[in-house]
Symmetry: C2
Subunit: 361 residues, 2 copies
């Protein structure tokens, strides 16, 4: 997380400069990914307060030493109960108005926070903070490229073992092992390997099922590198492919290509979804494309913006998004094709590195 | 999840039989682990409603087919917005009083739910549901034993590569690979391998640091088997051990053994913590034991009850808990020793399988 430490000062100032317009005197952060982004702390529990003149991180005893090592420009306090600890600390110089990350605190914790901070008005912040990490810096893009490289190199090795008789579980295991060997911290999410009829489930878990000739195999996977996630889906054919399968593959591929062509700064995210969805609908398979077209990727594998029908976001230079249309025919087979793209002024740069042309293994 | 499917009917009835005493006509579940426990659904998004006469699961289009396959006795509805979908569905036969899992819904989603269910009074349920999965059935205990076996077999293999020159990262990678090869679905959590001074951080992430003679190496790890987690910590010495190291190891071991001896039905959880903490305090190292003594384990790696100073839980037959005292001397080294124990009427059965006597590799 060299990138975070270098950028921490700038990121905190960015929050501080927005306090007035959000009409709060400080903000409590509960989302651990945002906390990592803002101050560099990588533990599994903690609350961050950013006020006009103070930055305070509260952690429990497991993380006191670690927080001191990982963060800069941040006062660390230890408490066995983070909500109580941070509330007591900020009550030293009470605020009238305190913002909080409404999507990252449970209703239960909110109720407790409210009781402990009765000196302040609590103001839920949601959309206002959603875009916190949405624009990637040069350093972050390099880390995302590191992640996509590790993923591509691993898949190239794993492809060698895919064929009739290999199980979905073994493919997933090999791929995750190759990513770790290649420098990945861990998989971006539970690797999806779905073959034959299982591929008709968009989010299937790998089973003991053995691959058969004539199957499609969907592999949706990613590597984490220095905290940054890759996310990519390849659908391979095994042994042979029918005309029908080839036709449907190419419909998805066409939708994917058109959507990528549409990605550039200034475009509404829902338009990219509409391009992919329109292509699949015109081909007569609209009912089988049951999810959104894409999402942002970074320190989380799913983050803002959303590329879906209802999205109100606009693409901006420096966003990194997935484009991943699919067609899933229940009890038969499914196809999904996914790349990650860096949004530029006049188009996009594809960050994932495996070709999406139909490949028969 | 054969166990869940078999038990689903009984588990749902258990909830339904409690509705009256909780003074609600139905409960909304947001915790995906609880949803898996109650109806068998294993997807990454969904909301479950249990009413007197109805059980309804709402999922988005990615999971409709999967939910149909995985669940029984459960009406599945599809919605691109689960809160909107379930609210509309239950408004068909409006309830006056609707309970919800307060610890598993964000404040943001709660606000939305409140708006969409204005026909009902929302009643936050927290402690009332905390104990939902706290007592393990015979079937669940078998799955937990499956997980601890996979973990033990893997560690036995990985121990072979631990020695001067091996890096923390390589040990973690090998251990995770061995667990997967042995039938584990995935690691229970990010494997901790912390050597030398890093072992003084209770929750360190594996680094590129090479093991040196004279190091302690803390390995805190677990395997997931059919959804059930193991959790175990071994601290090994490498090459040689000083008298001081041996002394401190034995203090932790003694605290661990005494705490395990205290585990039986009817005992307050805080008493088990007190037994471990007292032993470490009496030896003069109380300030270096910076976390609780243990926690429940099951479908989540951390679940109820808590074995800590402030805990108000009591041990009951069929609970499975960890006992994991530690001493961490900043910038020098740390030791943690952890086993999982099944609470019985007159004592406990240790489910983890690796000896905790000091071992020099």
């Amino acid at each position: 997380m060299k990138d975070t430490i270098a950028a921490a000062g700038e990121r905190i100032e960015r929050i501080q400069s927005r306090l007035a317009s959000l009409d709060v005197e400080g903000i409590l952060f509960f989302d651990l990914t945002n906390i990592r982004y803002l101050v560099g702390f990588m533990g599994s529990a903690g609350i961050l307060f950013i006020g006009k003149d103070s930055v305070i991180l509260t952690v429990d005893g497991r993380y006191t030493t670690q927080a001191g090592r990982e963060t800069r420009g941040c006062e660390i306090i230890e408490s066995s109960d983070n909500i109580r600890g941070i509330s007591a600390k900020i009550s030293d110089s009470p605020l009238r108005s305190l913002g909080f990350e409404a999507s990252a605190i449970s209703f239960e914790d909110y109720s407790k926070l409210k009781e402990k901070t009765n000196f302040a008005t609590l103001k839920p912040l949601s959309d206002e903070l959603n875009s916190l990490r949405i624009i990637k810096t040069k350093g972050e893009i390099d880390l995302l490229k590191g992640a996509t490289s590790i993923a591509a190199d691993a898949l190239q090795k794993t492809v060698e073992i895919i064929g009739p008789g290999t199980t979905e579980k073994n493919i997933a295991l090999d791929l995750e092992f190759q990513m770790r060997k290649g420098g990945g911290e861990k998989p971006s999410f539970d690797t999806i390997v779905a073959s034959g009829p299982n591929s008709a489930l968009p989010h299937a878990r790998p089973q003991s099922r053995s691959i058969e000739r004539g199957d499609f195999v969907i592999i949706d996977y990613g590597a984490v590198y220095e905290g940054y996630h890759s996310d990519e889906t390849c659908t391979f054919a095994v042994g042979r492919v029918t005309e029908e399968q080839k036709k449907i593959y190419n419909i998805v591929k066409d939708a994917h290509d058109r959507a990528l062509d549409a990605v550039k700064a200034g475009i509404p995210c829902k338009d990219v979804d509409e391009v992919a969805r329109g292509a699949i609908e015109r081909a007569g398979y609209g009912q089988y494309f049951s999810h959104g077209t894409g999402h942002g990727v970074g320190l989380d594998v799913h983050e803002a913006p959303k590329l879906s029908r209802g999205s109100t976001d606009y693409l901006e230079e420096g966003m990194v998004v997935t484009v991943e249309p699919g067609i899933y025919i229940p009890d038969a087979y499914g196809i999904r094709i996914e790349d990650m793209a860096l949004v530029g002024k006049d188009g996009c740069e594809i960050l994932t590195r495996t070709s999406k042309d139909l490949r028969i293994l």
